[in-house]
């Protein structure tokens, strides 16, 4: 009898927690499920669950996790709307403020105005200074010197941020007008100026060749072929001038693209100099 009782308890006790009154959608169970989803990286569902219990369970951590969740999903404006509802005295307020600055950078892609700063601890202050400095790379003009800009960052990062600064404020652009004029005077030279040596030499040879053939055929009184070569020569000449201008435009666009991509990759790698949070361990 005792043995029967022990066996019964062993089999049935696990189900006590899941009796028919078990409410999958109670606020406490929704929070547990939301925490699980957040740690699994299913931020969309985690945020949905947290939002459904926000009014029932007032909790700073939940608010902050919603903010982080929206940020992870790329919904930066939604993330900042959540931050605006933070209590100033909340333990997450300063960190939330830093994340809101990151969100602003993502949304507006411009330098910060002088923002009202809450009280930071030393680590938060470091993060803020770096984030504020890096926002300068979205401005049209620098608002501090390169030395001062670079000095804010760690030694390991200083080479990268220095390169980014140079790329932003002293980009190695090529002049489209100069490329066009050079090719108009000497076919192919505009392409060589942009760095496309192969195309430049080809343009020079082909245009020169057709010009010579046109002249030679006119001189030998073969007018049909002469006009064909004149047309071809003119076509290649015009193409060479147009192509040189286009090459300079493409070169400059590539500079801008490489800068933006480089900056984005660097910031993502550094998590925008913000502390990482581990709510799962």
């Amino acid at each position: 009898m005792k043995l029967t009782l022990i066996i019964t308890l062993f089999f049935f006790i696990p189900n006590l927690a899941q009796n028919s009154h078990f409410n999958f959608h109670s606020p406490e169970n929704k929070k547990k499920f939301a925490d699980y989803l957040f740690c699994e990286g299913d931020y969309l569902r985690a945020v949905e669950e947290y939002e459904s219990i926000r009014d029932l369970i007032r909790n700073d951590t939940i608010d902050f996790k919603i903010m982080l969740g929206y940020s992870s999903l790329g919904l930066f404006e939604e993330s900042n709307k959540i931050f605006k509802q933070f209590n100033y005295e909340s333990v997450f307020y300063s960190d939330g403020y830093l994340y809101s600055l990151r969100n602003i950078l993502q949304i507006e892609q411009r330098e910060f105005d002088y923002p009202g700063i809450p009280s930071f601890d030393p680590t938060q202050w470091k993060s803020f200074r770096k984030l504020f400095s890096i926002s300068m790379l979205y401005a049209d003009e620098p608002f501090e010197s390169k030395e001062k800009f670079v000095s804010v960052f760690e030694e390991d990062d200083q080479i990268t941020v220095s390169l980014l600064y140079d790329y932003k404020f002293n980009p190695p652009y090529k002049s489209e007008l100069l490329a066009g004029v050079l090719s108009a005077v000497i076919p192919g030279s505009g392409k060589m100026y942009v760095g496309e040596w192969g195309d430049g030499i080809t343009a020079l040879l082909v245009t020169g060749l057709f010009a010579f053939l046109a002249y030679d055929n006119f001189r030998a009184d073969h007018n049909t072929r002469a006009w064909i070569f004149t047309g071809l020569g003119a076509f290649f000449y015009a193409g060479n001038v147009y192509g040189s201008v286009a090459s300079a435009q493409i070169f400059n666009a590539r500079i801008n693209f490489e800068f933006k991509e480089g900056l984005n990759l660097f910031l993502q790698h550094k998590n925008y100099f913000l502390p990482e949070y581990d709510f799962c361990n």
Binding site: F22, R45, H222
Partner: protein, 281 residues
Amino acid sequence: MTFVTELCVKILLLSFVVINLQAQTALKDQFNYAKKLYNDEKYFDAVTEFKRLLFFDNTNKYVFEASKFIGLSYKEGAKFSDAVYYFTLAEKNAQNNEELFETRIEIIKINILRRSTGRALALLVSLQNDKRYINKKDEINYWRGWAYIFSDDWENAAFMFNSISPNHELKVFADSINSEFYDVTLSKVLSVFIPGAGQFYTGEYASGLISLGWNVLWGYLTISAFIDDRIFDGIMIGSFLWWRFYTGNLQNAEKFALEKNLNMTNDALRYLRNNYPGSKP
């Protein structure tokens, strides 16, 4: 043991049985709720509720079913990587050979949809070599046929369906599609001998006539230059103009044949999606 003690024990045992049944009911209710969402095509909510069931199911009774339906829901949303993850989870928790086969077929279908044909065929071979599924040969060949359809190999697809039945609806369909395709090699060979002939073969008459015209013109000018002893002129016109238009004609012949075949494939897939009543990936 006294009569009272024995009575208490029996009441306790009965209570545990009832509680256990109630626990199972709670999980079953959640499962049914989630399944209803799936049947109503509310796939996002279905995934949420099945994940909730998985999270709270300490007995792991619903791991297979819930994982399978999460996989199916993700598949409906074209989230194939997530779908494969959950089908694999279902596969690990399959209780019998039928369930194992079912989930493996679902994974194969995802690979067909993703057009990772090599992987789909490799999985089908592993199923075919599994002695447990010796009586599933027709079903394995059926999905093999679909894998070939999605990789645009209608000839092999017809062969596979033929192995199920010579009059199989999909065999007849695949044969008809295959017979309508343009032969890309033939198109190019025709254009080698008569510029524009390949375009005519694919029904692009205007392009064919223009190709023919250009090739006749530049061919005449090249030959007349050689006849006039203007060898260098002949070489220039022949290489820059005649050769360029000749190779362009070959490229067009190939391009039109491939384009027409691609349109036919897309129309065929569209027809199968909307009109074929049998199982589809």
